[in-house]
């Protein structure tokens, strides 16, 4: 390709035409400007007059130069100038496009796919075969090269995965490669361990080019709860410019609606690769957080799901008495407080107050009877609460659960309890028996120093053995448990303090509380804990960081979970086990990623590349502009620019360069004339093409009916843009409410208010049949409230049965559209409207109601297509057709009301008027 500097020409031979320019110069100079022919009656007076100086007008040099430039620009334009021409020698080898397809790709996946599309298109032009391989979804049988066009069709179906490929998979696939091909590697920029091996395998087959976006890769580490604040940290692969981002904490609000619960700003300082922010949340909010994510970053690494580790359980401690002032070590709850204060939120208060707070756990330390709240407590347990009771002198002394099992105790108790190894008793204090395999305490080592000197005894029952989860060395139960509904009731047969046993003094006490999920756990359970368990995914993340319901995905064995390495077997997500949930995130607390380093001999290109840019249009435009200037200049020289023509020519020239505002003024004028020639029904443009189309068709159908049945003869309906168009031409606006329509600007609202005050009417239609009642919770209702808030709307009421709308043309009592039955709201009658004697109707408002609000989707019922056919079915059979007819009648009444105001209201006076006229 012939090139001058960065500009190359596709048809350089045409440039020879530039040689002809001097010839043109002489030709143009030789020919004077053409004369104007002019009809002029006064010519008879001119006959015989000679020109004073009889020289032929010559074209001035600057005009010639202009023409030369125009012609030169034309010649250059058709020679096909191209900036940054791509001069690469195309190879004929097949092209293999390798995409990493990991979470790091997700952020700009579409750009990557575009780039691959460009590569494939290039290969297609060169007649090469091609193949695209995504490393996280490796083809089982090596690489199959196909025609590039065919490969391109597959592009849309490619998706990144929220994990990186494993080394084994990649190596196995690299071993299947054979033949020679060129490779274009669209890399995610992360230094994966298998990268070098794959690179050498690919380089053995042919040249390798690498494409990287250079976008920073940012990961969010799991949030940690420390010292009363949540610490969220993030890292990026490469230090660089300061980077500012927002971390959102998402969760469900009390109404169960997903919301952003808190927001924090996080900044990467320049040359820093890590960043940390502390978020302080009240416990109530903190427990609701389900995930943290970096706002606006579509990548699984930018989302960090939270599990029970962040959740602090609320534990209510209730003891019978605290009247023994000053003896802190003897209070029943002292050891509990010490054990739990680190890992749980403790709640104080009376049982009735605590129940209102709905805690996770209620501990009753030596409380014998809770008669007044027994039912409420039982209900709380059945709804998933964990009730832990400790025995003590009071429980032992009471006669609760003696003959009949108390619903709030797991077993029946013997009277009095027993004490062993005391001064007044035989035997040694009892040690604990190792925990059985079915006990939640299984695996905890029992320290030898733990002894029990007193306990309450369980009565032997058939269910006793299965309810016992810890027992003393002599087999008497120490801890019993009963499941009750979704919750459970646990009884420690000893006191919560060290009075009856040394258990509260040992570490076992804390571990047991932990196992009972009374305290909040922090770290991931150990491999031993997880062995043999199966965890079901609750929610999973995709590569873009979107949380999806896991559906029916298979469970994951605990061993895999313990490794915590995300991969095809363990997708990032939230996994639920028997008693807790574990979040598996792309970025763990310790995971480290490095930026990919490529050897110097591998060319690394950006996503954009330098695109070829054709300059043809620029040169053509320059030629046209030069010729336009030439036209005006020639006219001016030839004396043909006079008056109007001069203005027109200058205007034309001006319009070439700047958009003339007069055009808009003219358009507005035309709009005004068109709008006022005939009666027009108008609807507001919502921006939703389908809704607008239906609204237009609906008004057309209504116009048709009006034309046929009444003396109103509307023309084609008009779509009104609230921002641009004047509203005062339209007696009536139909405004369908859509969820995503933008709020009008304040100028538009001012216009709307003026419109409403000067007698216009807006029919708001939420189109959802008011399923939730007007504006309570329906989405469209809320949107309507939002839309209508700045409007100057009087108090509303459902259409009263004597409203003029019920009788402006037809007698109607309900106003169905495609839906029936929902209330229709109009301006409320004045408070003093009263039924006068002998009048069938009250004397209501003296003007047109400015708004009519409903949700019956009238436009759909009215809608007809261009052939006059109904567009949407209404109801069923004849009843449906009747409903449609009524909806048309509503439309007719409405338009009649708009156009005639309260005329029909005044009709009640007709007899009186006639009477008076008769006299």
């Amino acid at each position: 390709m012939f090139a001058i500097g960065p500009i190359a020409f596709t048809a350089p031979a045409l440039l020879l035409g530039l040689l002809a320019l001097p010839v043109l110069w002489f030709l143009l100079r030789a020919v004077p400007p053409a004369p104007i022919r002019r009809r002029f009656p006064g010519v008879v007076l001119l006959l015989g007059l000679e020109d004073e100086e009889n020289e032929a007008d010559k074209t001035p040099w600057w005009l010639l130069l202009l023409r030369m430039l125009a012609i030169a620009a034309l010649i250059i334009a058709f020679a096909g100038p191209v900036l940054n021409a791509d001069d690469e020698v195309a190879s004929s080898d097949p092209l293999l496009v390798v995409m990493d397809g990991t979470w790091a790709d997700a952020r700009d996946w579409s750009r990557r796919v575009d780039r691959v599309d460009g590569l494939l298109a290039e290969a297609g032009r060169a007649g090469r075969t091609a193949s695209v391989v995504v490393l996280t979804d490796l083809p089982p049988d090596g690489v199959t090269f196909q025609a590039a066009a065919q490969t391109r069709q597959r592009l849309a179906a490619l998706e990144p995965e929220p994990f990186g490929p494993t080394q084994d998979d990649v190596n196995a696939w690299a071993g299947t490669l054979d033949g020679s091909f060129e490779t274009a590697w669209v890399s995610d920029g992360v230094a994966w361990p298998w990268r070098d091996d794959l690179l050498s395998a690919l380089e053995a087959r042919g040249a390798v080019r690498v494409f990287e976006t250079g976008q920073p890769i940012i990961g969010l580490r799991p949030a940690v709860f420390e010292d009363g604040v949540i610490r969220v940290s993030a890292f990026r692969l490469a230090a660089g410019l300061p980077y500012d981002m927002t971390v959102n904490a998402h969760g469900l609000d009390p109404a169960g609606i997903p919301r952003t619960l808190s927001t924090a700003r996080m900044v990467f300082a320049p040359s820093e690769t890590t960043s940390e922010v502390e978020i302080a949340l009240p416990p109530e909010l903190r427990n609701r957080v389900t995930r943290f994510e970096i706002a606006g970053l579509r990548s699984a690494a930018a989302v960090s799901l939270t599990d029970d580790a962040l959740r602090r359980r609320e534990v209510a401690l209730i003891s019978a008495t605290d009247d023994r002032e000053g003896l802190a070590l003897l209070t029943p709850t002292h050891y509990l407080e010490q054990a739990l204060t680190e890992s749980a939120d403790l709640i104080d208060g009376t049982l009735s107050d605590v129940l209102l707070a709905n805690p996770d756990v209620i501990v009753l330390a030596d409380v014998a009877s809770v008669e007044s709240e027994a039912d409420a407590l039982l209900e709380w347990v059945q709804n998933g609460g964990l009730l832990v009771r400790f025995a003590g002198p009071r429980l032992a002394a009471s006669d609760i659960s003696r003959t009949e099992q108390d619903p709030l105790l797991p077993v029946r108790l013997r009277a009095g309890g027993r004490s062993v190894g005391g001064a007044m008793s035989w035997g040694e204090p009892k040690a604990l028996r190792p925990f059985g395999a079915d006990s939640p305490f299984f695996g905890l080592t029992v320290p030898e120093e733990v002894t029990v000197t007193a306990q309450v005894m369980a009565q032997p029952d058939p269910t006793l053995s299965e309810r016992t989860i810890a027992s003393l060395s002599d087999g008497t139960p120490l801890v019993t448990r009963k499941r009750e509904g979704a919750g459970q009731i646990v009884l420690f047969h000893v006191t919560a303090n060290a009075e009856w046993a040394s258990l509260p003094l040992s570490v076992l006490y804390v571990q047991m509380l932990d196992r009972l999920a009374i305290s909040s756990r922090s770290a991931l359970p150990s491999v031993e804990d997880l062995t043999g368990t199966v965890w079901l995914p609750d929610e999973v993340l995709d590569a873009f960081g979107t949380v999806e319901d896991a559906g029916l995905q298979t469970g994951v064995p605990g061993e895999t979970l313990a490794e915590a390495a995300v991969g095809p077997e363990l997708r990032p997500g939230l996994y639920a086990g028997e008693e807790r949930r574990i979040a598996i995130n792309v970025v763990g607390p310790e995971t480290a990623f490095l930026a990919a380093q490529w050897p110097a001999n591998v060319p690394v290109e950006g996503m954009q590349g330098v695109e070829e840019q054709s300059l043809k249009s620029w040169f053509l435009n320059a030629a046209i502009i030069a010729l336009l200037i030439d036209v005006v200049a020639s006219l001016w020289l030839g004396g043909r620019l006079s008056g109007f023509a001069r203005r027109a020519a200058v205007g034309l020239l001006a319009a070439t360069f700047v958009a003339a505002p007069e055009v808009q003024a003219q358009t507005q004028e035309r709009f005004a004339v068109a709008a006022t020639n005939e009666v027009l029904l108008a609807h507001v443009i919502t921006g939703d093409a389908q809704v607008d189309r239906v609204a237009d068709a609906g008004l057309r159908g209504l116009s048709e009916v009006l034309f046929r049945r009444t003396s109103i003869e509307p023309a084609e309906p008009v779509a009104v843009d609230l921002e641009m168009d004047e509203l005062s031409f339209f007696p009536f606006l139909y405004w369908p409410v859509t969820e995503d329509q933008p709020l009008p600007s304040s100028e538009a609202y001012a216009k709307l208010n003026r419109y409403l005050r000067s007698g216009g009417m807006i029919l708001f239609d939420t189109r959802d049949a008011n399923v939730a009642g007007l504006g309570t919770t329906s989405v469209l209702g809320r949107k309507l409230q939002q839309l209508a808030r700045p409007l100057d709307i009087p108090p509303l009421e459902p259409v009263p049965s004597d409203h003029v709308l019920t009788r402006t043309f037809y007698l109607l009592q309900d106003f169905p559209g495609r839906h029936a039955g929902a209330d229709v709201w109009v301006e409320a009658a004045p408070a003093d409207a009263e039924l006068a004697d002998g009048m069938p109707f009250r004397n209501l408002n003296d003007n047109v109601t400015p708004v009519v609000i409903g949700g019956n989707d009238w436009a759909s019922a009215w809608a007809t297509d261009a052939q006059g056919n109904r567009m949407f079915p209404v109801g069923r059979g004849f009843a449906g057709e009747r409903q449609r007819e009524l909806s048309y009648r509503f439309g007719v009444n409405l338009i009649m009301h708009v156009l005639t105001g309260n005329y029909k209201s005044d009709q009640v006076h007709v007899p009186a008027l006639l009477d008076r006229l008769g006299q």
């Binding site: 004077p32 400007p33 053409a34 004369p35 104007i36 022919r37 002019r38 009809r39 002029f40 009656p41 006064g42 010519v43 008879v44 007076l45 001119l46 006959l47 007059l49 020109d51 004073e52 100086e53 009889n54 020289e55 032929a56 007008d57 020289l637 030839g638 004396g639 043909r640 006079s642 020639n677 005939e678 116009s703 048709e704 034309f707 003869e713 509307p714 023309a715 084609e716």
Partner: protein, 291 residues
């Protein structure tokens, strides 16, 4: 829905100016107040003049029996002599008259036709007889004559570039109105005027000109052509010719003025961008002046 939106309105617009020329002329004529111009002596007419005693020679049927019955003598009812004038219009309808420098402005021909017709309306109301030289018939009175004139004026039928006065139907001692741009050869004009003056006809010359013809706002290389295309003149710099053209035009006006004075006619110039009312007033006044 209305298949032809705006039909109603368009039809009304169309119907409103039905006989356009006549209506325009009537409209223009409304602006002039008529005055009676009886002869102030008895003669043939419609208006009562006086009763006089019967003289010998009066026919018996002329006796006014109602008046005579109130006295012993017989009376004859005399009427005021109302001699109708006949006014002949020559409206130039050669090609040169169809020129108009602006599409919103009346062409000279239309302006001349409106003026002639409006003057005719006034004259007919005044009881005079009017005619159009082009019709070739004697002047007549009555509304019907107006319609005939309006129809004839509607046609543009002459092929010549410039018109020459037409003296057909011109009665001796009548009146004549010549409406033209008088840009053509002056010989036929002076010949016609002289002949008319010989026949005792007095009248009015109204030169109707377009503003461009009086301003000559041209520049650059131009080929001027007459409206029919019969004459042409090429110049390299039209602007240089302006002074000499205006000079020639002034000469032409002076010649016409002189000619009018010599024959006892009246002469004026009317530009199509000026008000047609003033022209009509002048025209009517000039005709009245001769009575």
């Amino acid at each position: 829905m209305n298949a032809f939106p705006g039909l109603r309105r368009n039809a009304e617009e169309l119907a409103a100016p039905l006989p356009p020329l006549l209506a325009a002329a009537e409209h223009l004529a409304m602006t002039v107040l008529l005055g009676a111009h009886g002869r102030r002596r008895s003669g043939i007419g419609d208006e009562f003049w006086q009763y006089r005693p019967v003289q010998i020679g009066d026919e018996a049927r002329n006796i006014d029996w109602r008046r005579s019955g109130r006295s012993d003598a017989h009376f004859v009812r005399e009427k005021e002599w109302q001699a109708a004038q006949s006014v002949m219009f020559w409206v130039d309808h050669a090609h040169s008259m169809s020129f108009s420098s602006d599409k919103n402005r009346d062409s000279k021909a239309r302006r001349a036709a409106i003026l002639a017709l409006a003057a005719s309306v006034l004259l007919i109301r005044g009881g005079e007889r009017v005619g159009l030289a082009r019709m070739g018939t004697q002047p007549r009175s009555g509304e019907l004559q107006l319609i005939r004139m309006a129809e004839t004026l509607g046609f543009e039928t002459e092929d010549d570039d410039y018109g020459a006065p037409d003296l057909r139907g011109l009665l001796a001692h009548g009146r004549a109105v010549f409406l033209s741009d008088f840009l053509g050869d002056i010989e036929p004009i002076s010949a016609a005027l002289t002949e008319a003056a010989d026949r005792g006809v007095k009248g009015v010359l109204l030169q109707v000109l377009d503003p461009q013809e009086e301003a000559f706002p041209f520049d650059g290389r131009t080929i001027f052509e007459s409206m029919g295309g019969g004459l042409r003149h090429e110049t390299q710099k039209a602007g240089d010719l302006r002074d000499r053209y205006l000079e020639r035009l002034a000469e032409r006006k002076a010649a016409l003025s002189d000619l009018a004075r010599a024959t006892g006619w009246q002469y004026s110039v009317h530009r199509t961008d000026a008000s047609d009312q003033s022209a009509l007033l002048w025209l009517y006044g000039a005709l009245e002046h001769d009575h």
